[in-house]
Subunit: 242 residues, 6 copies
């Protein structure tokens, strides 16, 4: 099967890192295709950038002209997943949801460690909308921006470990979710340092997407995610930047 | 003062109707400027269209080159308000929030009557995110699409009255919110028919925006709605369609 | 229009301060009438005093024999608003609700800074009943009694600023509500000191009441706030102290 | 021990019925003293009347000049209990709370059947404030006013049974609480008719008050229910109507 | 009347301590019978041990061949109460519920102080299922195992007092519940040390059970707690260890 | 890898049906081993039977003496999963959780259709404890007992379809979960009849268990699910019935 994994920002290096992480956990026979949006911010760290990414991801996925079986949106706490669900007939998995719902199998409560403090409310709100917030002990910021994670992985590990340890000690988290697509690949180090299971959203999303495809399940079209009605839409598809 | 009121869809006639309603309640000295997005759907009735509108509204508001004191987003249950709050320093009022928070002064519980059933979950989710859902008795669909409301106002009144009556009788609503920017102007008829206060979101948003300006209050910039960080953003501003 | 603003305690100086604050934000043409209850506590800081104030305010408002367009109850977290809503046909605005619902337009979460610790649960409970608690980050006590606020405004500012700063830093509040009618007029100083929007409930209530009157909206009479049934009531009106 | 049981309305016949019911379940050695407020409504069916009753009950209880061990407030969903808790050092039991917390021992969910529809939101709100709403399946109105219950008990039984049956069938209630002090004594009939346990709040409150006294437990005075601070209170005690 | 009080662990000394505490508060004429399970852990401090205890308690109670009027399950936060409710026609009272629902009469919020940290989530979950969590300020662990409590009561008092004081100061608890059947008898000392009411679950359960019996109330059999259907059950009753 | 799938009741035919369903979705290389408890009820339809099954499943799994990689508990809404998590180091997946968390990827709200009405509250409570209830539209009973499902699959399909259709129409479910291990294999028929995705918990649990194993994730041992402390446990392991 073929799974598209869409980065939410326009930094190609992150797309590559995400796709590489995805491939490392994919089942034999699963092809991973990384997609980078054609427009939007180089890193997504707030509502404006996230809304722009939502549209850019939808635009980029629709422009992909080969068959595929599922789509993963690889942004943590970002807008847009519901739009993809309307536009597509294949299953859509957001890494925020995948990490949280996987974590809930592993412990009584989980925490998310993310990048900047300003993204914390977005993640909390997305988890609430997804119905996965009840067992969330906390969402904590490492204080590092997305591109800083990329630039200095070891510093990232230190900052994430510090917040993960506080989450376990103070917030009573029993599992840690890595709250940024760009953290893919750091899970093993952080697990060793904290002693609790660490869930990488990209990895969790890949196995979830594979599972949905294998089970023949896809988005319900009876109400919220019904295909958009036929109507006049100006400037769509955008193909902006192409 | 000058208040921009942004339609979420690209149908000019709705922008005009909204602006007219806004002017009818504005204080002396308040200038209302209606804005129509340069791209997006002719009517917004779902997540994809709403996400596209979110970006189109931000783009259109940023392109407005005269001074203004507040911005109203005139879509019911739509995405995007948080993005405007980040991008602007003036207060931003969403009509969904304005209708609900006004209704809560008038009765113990309120219901929203909107257009199509598929938009009900969007409205519920936006109210939850805004923290205004607790006293919401129900969100009910009239079954009429946005453009049908425009085309046949009397049929719209009948359909809305029917749902409003059920909301009062079955869901124990004590106030009705008109759940669509395009319903502006129907409030008086529906109030007479149902006997309960009817809140039009556009009207409520105008007086709320005026109040915030008068009180010298605007969006907090310390966390969630801080100005976006300086970074490379491809394809922005869009000015798409111009 | 004429708006009655009822102090909840019997200290005339507070009534005057509240009315002065109200006048400073009122629109041209709005007359503000301050009312002091004829009986009750010199300051209201707990349930017994608040229940007594509830009745004293209803009694005092009913005794006002001139026409008026709206009533503001200027006590933070106090009982009684629902009773006024039953007895009157004009809109009733409580400053607790007005501050909270205004704050929700300005940030993702708000905190209230009030007087004594013992009043914190009352405020929390009133916000819960009003359906405005979801986005409340915290209610914090400055430790100063109502009359101490009156006696030493500068000390009050210091105590409030300290708690406001903690609310922003520790509780992640993005907006501060001044949780006492007697704090009216301190908002500007506290805003400068904390860097976040500060909402004074009296001011917010005045513009809200004006808005409701302008929009022709008043309390729904179909259920919770229906006019009391005709029946024998001993000792009412009280006019106690007259 | 001596337990005061305060009627919330000024109808002596109801006080007598309540006291009689209380005596029928009291332990040997428990003396029940029924108190009727000196002012207020002949029946309490809404917020204004309930707020007035709150003060009238406090006033009446404080005027009782013999020793006593506990106080029961015998109004369903009424204001005031917190005020009594502040003013007194003996335990205070509200029949709304007593019925609900007793019902929760008996089934997975309970419903309340009360008098008029307009009192339903008051009861719901009081249960929410008391933290006893989570397992409440519904609050249903029989449509009979308080004094109608008194006048025609058999009609009352029929109306209550009808709503109780609906609560069991449609709302999945497993226990019924009689939601009015004036329903005391009807429990056995209704239990036979519906087949589920029926909790009379007065009876439950008596055994609860006895239990608290026996266990040497009374209201915590550290925060919410601390004794009112010494201050000038005009017109208190009221002794109105004496 | 006769009340069975079932210890959840197999340590006879704890059964005796519990029964002694129960007898000290029981009404004249109430006979307390302590039961020790025939199999299971010497102390219950986690889910496996608690599930085993659930079955062992049901088995032990069913093996009791004399008449009785009520059953108390004397484990804090343990599984099994619903099973007893299905199997028996007499009322069943869990000490977790009894402590919490009693505490709610005494203050605005309560905390539980229990044994080991690992039992905290169990207690929280049981309170949530019972619908008694809303007013729970916190569940805190003293760090002492059940058998350590038994072995060194004075050390237990110190550890519990420390957590109780934090609960009052930091979590705003106004009442403390002793979160372990083995803490029975420590309440008076802890009350003196902390100045807030202290509720011992065993004592509260005894008066509650007596009250239910006196009121003629027992478990509803219409749905959740209906008697198990007749069917083939292998290995039941267990009488294991006999 | 090898996955143990434990039936909760003692009917071998159900174990076989469950194992067969599991094998039909398992990845190549996954070995499914069905386990039937050695004691307990022939069908589990209530709390007593479920608590007994909890222990019987733990006992049966511990008695399995070959290596395995994950355990599935194949009972819908049953007790016991937390006990297995404590006792084992491999991941444990409950079909209730697996169905719900899978359904949440497919629609805005899901409903569960189960067997008898008496099991509905158990399922609701388990979903609440698992933090997966927020997006649950309803749990509905088909009215068929577990063994009736086995005996007459076509009648089962009819009864389930009827409730599924009501869930979609009245409760606004967009996905249906089959709420009984014994319904495994009916999903395709029901999907065709209702037009919405149908999630079989056994199938979802198999792919979830495989995913966890593949990702190297297992139960967190830092708190709630820590290995039981070494202590004296009478009568364990049970091996009852062997």
């Amino acid at each position: 099967m073929r799974i598209l994994i869409a980065n939410v920002n326009t930094t190609e290096a992150i797309t590559e890192a995400i796709a590489e992480q995805a491939r490392s956990v994919a089942a034999p026979g699963t092809e991973i295709v990384g997609l980078t949006p054609w427009f939007g911010a180089e890193s997504v760290e707030g509502n404006f950038e996230s809304y722009l990414a939502a549209i850019a991801v939808m635009d980029r996925v629709l422009a992909y002209d080969q068959p595929y079986d599922a789509v993963i949106q690889a942004g943590y706490g970002e807008h847009g997943r519901e739009g993809l669900q309307e536009l597509l007939n294949v299953p859509v998995v957001d890494i925020t949801d995948a990490a949280a719902s996987t974590a809930m199998y592993l412990g009584h409560a989980y925490s998310v460690v993310t990048t900047l403090d300003r993204t914390v409310p977005l993640i909390e709100d997305r988890l609430k909308l997804s119905g996965l917030y009840e067992r969330c002990a906390s969402v904590r910021a490492s204080g590092l921006a997305v591109l800083e994670l990329e630039a200095d992985p070891q510093r990232a590990v230190e900052a994430i470990v510090e917040q993960a340890e506080r989450a376990v000690r103070d917030d009573k988290a029993e599992v840690i979710c890595l709250g940024c697509g760009g953290m893919a690949g750091l899970d093993e180090q952080i697990r060793q340092r904290t002693g609790v299971p660490v869930v990488d959203g990209v990895s969790a999303a890949v196995t979830m997407a594979e599972s949905l495809v294998r089970l023949g399940l896809s988005t319900s079209k009876v109400r919220t995610y019904a295909t958009p009605r036929a109507k006049k839409v100006i400037g769509w598809p955008m193909r902006f930047g192409r």
